[in-house]
Subunit: 417 residues, 2 copies
Amino acid sequence: MMEDIAVKIERANQEAVRRILAGDPVWEDVRPAREAIPGMTENTILHAGPPIPWERMAGPVRGAVMAALIFEGRAESPDQAARLAAGGEIRFSPCHEHRSVGAMSGVISPSMPVFVVRNASFGNTAYCAWRDLAQASGCFDEPTIKNMRWLRDVGMPTLAAAVRRRGNLELKPLWARALTMGDELHNRVSAGTSIFARAMAPHLVRAVADSSAVAEVLEYLADFDLAIVPLTMAGCKSVMDAAHGIEASTVVTAIARNGVEVGIRVSGLGDRWFAGPAQPVKGTYHSGFTAADGCPDLGDSAIIETAGFGGCAIAAAPTHVTVADEPGAAGAYTREMYEITLARNPSYPIPTLGFQGIPTGIDIRKVVETGILPIVDTPVAHRDPGRVRGVIGFGMSRPPMECFLKALTAFGEKVLP
Amino acid sequence: MMEDIAVKIERANQEAVRRILAGDPVWEDVRPAREAIPGMTENTILHAGPPIPWERMAGPVRGAVMAALIFEGRAESPDQAARLAAGGEIRFSPCHEHRSVGAMSGVISPSMPVFVVRNASFGNTAYCAWRDLAQASGCFDEPTIKNMRWLRDVGMPTLAAAVRRRGNLELKPLWARALTMGDELHNRVSAGTSIFARAMAPHLVRAVADSSAVAEVLEYLADFDLAIVPLTMAGCKSVMDAAHGIEASTVVTAIARNGVEVGIRVSGLGDRWFAGPAQPVKGTYHSGFTAADGCPDLGDSAIIETAGFGGCAIAAAPTHVTVADEPGAAGAYTREMYEITLARNPSYPIPTLGFQGIPTGIDIRKVVETGILPIVDTPVAHRDPGRVRGVIGFGMSRPPMECFLKALTAFGEKVLP
């Protein structure tokens, strides 16, 4: 009987891994959230991480919600926005429950344009907004709202025209190439953003007659090194969603953080979240800030690690700020991740580890058995809303063991007789 | 007495190394060769490597000269071009003797626009044409001539307008960044070209009203991975020229190949060339070609190695085609180069070697003493003119020991009483 269960889990996990390895994300469009995202209504605001009510939300998430309500024309001031958010009319929901992911606060409101990425192998789509980093970090001042409007009215429509002219952009070769160029694809993405800008530039020029709009988009891409991250997040989400819902699989399909709790989802455990308290981030803080200023672990961007990149693949990024001054640190992290994963993805070899593939398919059993928690290479937001335009540092975080213990217990209850 | 000489050499080499480390190349303009390059006349054609008469030139160099004469309107057919080249009217001269460098055949004719790079620390300038790779490899067919005209009439003027609008582009941070992205900066330049395209794209759009010209330049940059090489070559030339002419220095300031001979120049030995026979290139050949089809070692691009990049820095490029399938090969080459150089350039750390700087300042004494020859990561042209549009492979080459023995002998004659 027990043997039967072990075989069943083994087979389910093989299938989950097969689907992750076969994932083939292609960027095909940019559309307003209200048109693209399932379940999005005029009163919906999505946020990062597991579900959480307004009253318990972390500072930067509250700030980002306020920015979104001003941006949507639903409020004229931050105070008015906060009252509206608290009033019950707005329905808050995790991005992950709408085939979406959001960076940092992860706040997506109906008018925000989102990247549409299709997993060409399985047909499912996933979405992520092209982020204003200040808003994502909880800022709601005038320049932030102005940039959100620019993204909606100029930036994203211009990119949309370019990708429609070009045709679908395959993310798999872009990611593979970036890994050979020192990216881990979460916070060290200089290569990914450079390749992306270089590839899209001619199509931007040919697709859009307004040269000022084209120049502004190219300036955004040239100046904002993290520009590729939301597209990568949508791609990883499309890959991991295809591996979700396999009966008896113990593979983690999402790690997501709302700044108060970290939640994980497991392929064989449906839409349940298994959550524990978000931890402070051990990191490198920008001048004037310390860990005490940082919001605990925040953002859906850990979908990048869930797919095997970011902290899991950080051996590929020895020059990244969070590991560069500790010799061997990058390699050690990735080697640790091999202990808790089921496969090495041959599509994404890491040059510094003898071209071994990235660690793929985090197994809740292995996490509990080894005591090794997944590692997330994460930006850090200020804990208070509206205090800082952007992030205050970068660091490494781990979800609490509680998530994995709860998930394994639920799994046991489900599969054991 | 001997001790005095040793001290003198030591001091001279310290000064040469100081100047190389202080080199600060900035791209400031694009201008026609006839206006920019000293000594260029309407009857001048420059070529790669040490001096060589038309009759003895390698196939690809002859082919490139024929292409240049057709391009300049001096001949209407390849045969007519060859007769003109043989007739004595055209003055052939090495690029290196005109503050210039040229990729592969290195042929530069008066109408070709060239990158102008200034070494901001020392004020000297250097030049390199933005290369049509087919012409550089000896091709002279209609599409080649057409592309040469496009570079002259559209590509280079468009880039010129962009750099003038932007202001000088510093190459030092670009090179340093590319080395952290898997480039060695000679043949693995995906990162350098991507960073360059991303940085210039907005300026191209803002500087030039003709969106079709802008799109064509961006397409060239997106499609041609080696696009950055000529700019890098001019930059390296400007750095090494500033270290040339130091009495009693044994530092190599140029390694250059014309497909028949390889020549080196030494800081303390004036404008003399020390040459030996060009060797076949051990390499990875494109389908349908073998080493027997390859022209022996060709091109001024070894200025990149002379400055410490390329083969010398190949540890930074473990995914590069010529080393990727031999584990550890890249690191071993660079470690070998530390044996024959005087310094490690701290401006250009190599992540895979614990952030040690690139090997800098090849010393003819160390080459002769250790028997270790500098390693050049080089493209290979077909040995016959006009046979192939572009290169037929990539490989590693070494200049013959003869160059270094001759130079050391000359040096002894000069400094010994």
